[in-house]
């Protein structure tokens, strides 16, 4: 066995590196716990915080909660959707700024709103394969501190200017500069291939599935009510660390009512010819925030006297052809979940919690409607009929993105840590471990879904 300069490695960690890959059995990947900072509406408490600031804060809270100071973690993976080019090594920089051992490797991942969940799945797979014994998954996003690029015209001029060698050459390059080139290019939630914003895309889907304004408002209302109750019950006491004076998600409206939500004017789908139903109340706002999840092998968790809340059972990604209008932009989970459940021999009745990310209330309701639709089940999923329906009392029981807000890449970590804690509290159901389903839609017509189980 060669040491390969792996300083700081404990004896038990070496043990897992001594067998050859072929002989190494697949292990279980544990969720130890998580930490996030409260999510803040953009332009609010975190306006002056960068992605790196927030991710470092979320990491440091996790480190403090689990006593990971100076620990060399197997790998840290995180990402941001709105990312400055200078943040090419965002996660590694956050690790270096944290209390973790500086010998902890890290990589960035970017899969739109599925970024956070995908880091969990990727790292869990490495743990399962015995490549690493511990990992931190995470995500961060700042809509307040979003990168603004120069226009394409100015960018070409600046690059040519840099290549120009003589003064006349430089002057000639500069002479190409026009006033319109000076307008900055800000990021948007628009889809590059359709030019439609995410909200306008969802409005198409919401209308397609005939989702009513009332149903959307009710989902939003439940999200606020459930999140508020979770705070009151102390649910987030060991999931969240305050940041910049914020101790709760600033988007949470504990006192909102269905009546108040009903008064809001529609903001998306106003030119579709059908009634516009999507408001600021039943859509997620732009949000800043960061989340982290600590993953480990059973041995590593035990050796460090750490809790084991749940296991990462399986995950599935899907994508839809929204460009040609075959399916709605955010409908990929409607395909990913049936494939994932079929592979695991499960039905929707086998779950105790459903965490369906509330990008828009219409997204959740359209997905559920598709699963309950015979035609969709037969023609699109290849089943004999409808995929199934869920017990709504198991849906987003401690609130979701409509109340908490949605800092794109941070949502996955929020959901995984919360669900793991709920599963651990639930323990076993009818003699089997409590089970939870996570579904997250993402830009580009993508979706990532996963199954977690209590131990």
């Amino acid at each position: 066995m060669s040491v390969n300069g792996q300083s700081g490695t404990g004896p038990h960690e070496f043990a897992s590196h001594t067998t050859s890959g072929a002989a190494r059995p697949v292990r279980r990947a544990m969720i130890v716990g998580g930490n996030r900072i409260p999510f803040a509406r953009s332009g609010g408490a975190y306006t002056k915080s960068s992605n790196q600031d927030m991710l470092t804060a979320a990491l440091d809270g996790l480190i403090a909660r689990f006593g990971l100071q100076d620990e060399r973690i197997g790998e840290v993976a995180a990402g941001a959707v709105l990312k400055h080019s200078r943040d090419f090594n965002l996660t590694r920089e956050a690790v270096l700024g944290s209390a973790l051992s500086a010998e902890t490797p890290a990589y960035d991942l970017q899969q739109a709103c599925a970024t956070g969940l995908e880091t969990v799945l990727g790292l869990a797979n490495k743990i399962k394969l015995g490549q690493i014994d511990s990992a931190i998954a995470g995500g961060v996003d700042s809509a307040s501190d979003a990168p603004i690029a120069v226009s394409e015209g100015l960018r070409e001029i600046l690059l040519d200017l840099n290549r120009a060698k003589t003064l006349p050459q430089r002057l000639q390059v500069l002479s190409r500069l026009r006033p319109k080139d000076l307008a900055p290019d800000a990021p948007s939630t628009g889809e590059p291939r359709t030019g439609l914003s995410m909200g306008e895309h969802q409005a198409l889907t919401t209308a397609q599935w005939n989702i009513s304004r009332e149903a959307q408002d009710e989902l939003a209302f439940n999200s606020h009510r459930n999140l508020s109750a979770a705070y009151d019950a102390g649910f987030f006491d060991d999931l969240l660390t305050p940041y910049r004076g914020l101790a709760k998600d600033s988007n949470l409206r504990a006192d909102t009512t269905l009546e108040k939500l009903a008064t809001l004017k529609p903001v998306f789908g106003k030119s579709l010819g059908t009634e516009a139903t999507m408001t600021a109340g039943n859509s997620t706002p732009l949000t800043d925030g960061a989340s982290t999840v600590l993953l480990a092998s059973e041995d590593w968790a035990d050796a460090h006297d750490l809790p084991k809340l749940a296991t990462v059972v399986d995950g599935e990604a899907a994508a839809v052809d929204f460009v040609h209008g075959k399916d709605g932009l955010l409908m990929a989970p409607a395909f990913a979940v049936p494939r994932l459940l079929a592979r695991n021999g499960l039905t929707l009745d086998d779950f105790d919690f459903f965490e369906i990310h509330e990008a828009f209330a219409g997204t959740v309701l359209s997905t559920l409607a598709a699963w309950e639709d015979d035609e969709f089940g037969r023609t699109r999923l290849g089943l004999e009929g409808a995929f199934g329906s869920i017990d709504r009392s198991k849906l987003n029981v401690n609130g979701s993105s409509l109340a908490a807000g949605h800092p794109f890449a941070a949502t996955g970590g929020r959901i995984v840590a919360s669900l793991a804690k709920m599963l651990q509290a639930k323990g076993t159901v009818d003699g089997r471990p409590a089970r939870g389903l996570i579904s997250i839609c993402a830009a580009g017509g993508q979706g990532v879904v996963a199954i977690l189980e209590a131990l």
Binding site: D60, A64, R65, G67, T241, P242, R244
Partner: protein, 446 residues
């Protein structure tokens, strides 16, 4: 939190001006740092009893520079007055007056320490008078000392030797820079219990300690001091203070537990966290506390109950859980933060003073319960300490609060932390049910 006046009068021009105008000249106190020598010069041990001889021999065995007779004009680090066999007031004369002739030889931040017996433990009027006399003598002498020098006393119960573990531990505490802001105070060593640590630099090695209210101020200082002394830490504070708590936890390599100590399950959650994460629980420091000041005439229900609930009721509930737990039976130590407000009273603090008086009452009555498992419970009562909280007091009031003590300055959070770390150590195991003030000998309220 800095005391600019003290800095000013310890520099050239400022020193001269203060001297000429007769202004207070607070000294820069010698505070403990790892590796620092116990005292700044030779120790003069006064007294001719067997206890004095044994003590001098022990000090010599620690390689300290010990004198049994004063050498004229030699700068001294400390004078120890062993008065453990007083029978009548006249017995004070010889040791006291010979110590008097050496007072001018005391260096900066030097120490005078008396070792005596409790007046309450004798039936003889003359003996009780002599013993009680030590109290008045020491407290007055403390007010006469200058340049950061302090005077404190150790009171030994009848059966306790002058070289018992806790006597020696208390002596080391008073001699060292750990007691910089403790002045004019007595510690009572009630039993021969206690174990001196193998390494005096790491007296808490191997111990798991919980500190409540650890996110900032005195609590954060306690965390740093216990960590320096070798303890593994669980740091508790309310969830809303979690960011500061995490920063302290990462600094001292402990774990953060966001928890409202006034919740019904707080005690059990503290025990579970310590045992599951760190395998054991040895020390609990009740530091969390709040103030909601108001004259009693204007006191409302919320101000009264929140202060009483968090400052004392929560401690009582947590202690009940601790005493019932099988995980808190191996020489368990509890130290509570009281306040001089609870002793001397403070205008506008009827609620706070009631809660802190309550802490001292709780400590006294809990002592036998802890002793049953070889443990102890004590309290530390801080006076004016330089914290974010006292920095918000209006300037004039703050200056009065600061200067009205024998050391003419406010204490630092670390001064409180040092006293707590000492009482939390196994070496202090013979001290139980006691209250130690860290107040620079506040001139008000005794």
């Amino acid at each position: 939190m800095s005391d600019k006046y003290t800095t000013l009068v310890n520099q050239g021009v400022g020193r001269n001006i203060a001297k000429r105008l007769g202004l207070p000249q607070p000294a820069l106190l010698r505070r403990y740092k790892p590796g620092q020598s116990l005292v700044t010069g030779p120790i003069l041990v006064q007294g001719s009893t067997a206890g004095a001889d044994q003590l001098a021999a022990t000090l010599l065995s620690w390689d300290l520079d010990v004198r049994r007779h004063a050498v004229p004009r030699e700068k001294l680090g400390a004078i120890i007055l062993v008065l453990d066999e007083l029978n009548r007031p006249e017995d004070l004369e010889k040791p006291v007056l010979s110590a008097a002739s050496s007072l001018r030889d005391l260096g900066a931040s030097a120490r005078v320490i008396t070792i005596s017996r409790p007046a309450a433990e004798t039936a003889s009027p003359a003996q009780s008078a002599a013993r009680q006399g030590v109290d008045g003598f020491l407290r007055s002498l403390a007010k006469e000392l200058r340049a950061g020098a302090t005077a404190n006393g150790i009171v030994l119960s009848e059966r306790v030797q002058s070289t018992s573990p806790s006597t020696l531990a208390a002596l080391r505490f008073f001699l060292s820079g750990r007691s910089a802001f403790v002045d004019g105070q007595f510690l009572t060593v009630a039993t021969e219990q206690g174990n001196l640590p193998p390494d005096f630099e790491k007296p808490l090695a191997g111990k798991v300690a919980v500190v409540t209210g650890a996110a900032r101020g005195i609590g954060a200082a306690i965390a740093r001091t216990l960590h320096r002394d070798g303890a593994t830490l669980v740091l508790v504070d309310i969830p809303a203070a979690g960011d500061h708590l995490a920063a302290v936890a990462n600094e001292v390599r402990g774990t953060a537990l966001q928890l409202d100590i006034s919740s019904a399950e707080a005690g059990q959650r503290i025990i579970d966290h310590a045992v599951r994460r760190h395998g054991r629980l040895d020390i609990v420091i009740h530091n969390a506390g709040i103030t909601r000041d108001k004259l009693l005439a204007n006191m409302d229900h919320g101000r009264w109950t929140s202060v009483l609930n968090i400052n004392i009721a929560a401690q009582l509930r947590i202690n009940e859980a601790l005493l019932a737990s099988e995980h808190f039976r191996n020489s368990p130590r509890i130290v509570s933060v009281a306040s001089t407000s609870g002793i001397a009273g403070n205008r506008g603090q009827t609620n706070y003073a009631a809660s802190k008086g309550g802490v001292m009452g709780m400590v006294r009555a809990s002592a036998p319960l802890l002793a049953a498992n070889g443990g102890s419970i004590n309290a530390v009562a801080p006076g004016f300490i330089e914290t974010d909280m006292t920095a918000r007091i209006p300037f004039a009031v703050r200056e009065v609060g600061r200067r009205l003590n024998s050391l003419q300055q406010g204490g630092q959070p670390s001064d409180v932390a040092e006293a707590i770390a000492f009482l939390a150590s196994d070496a202090a195991g013979g001290i139980n049910g006691d209250v130690l003030r860290v107040c620079g000998q506040n001139l008000v309220g005794a």
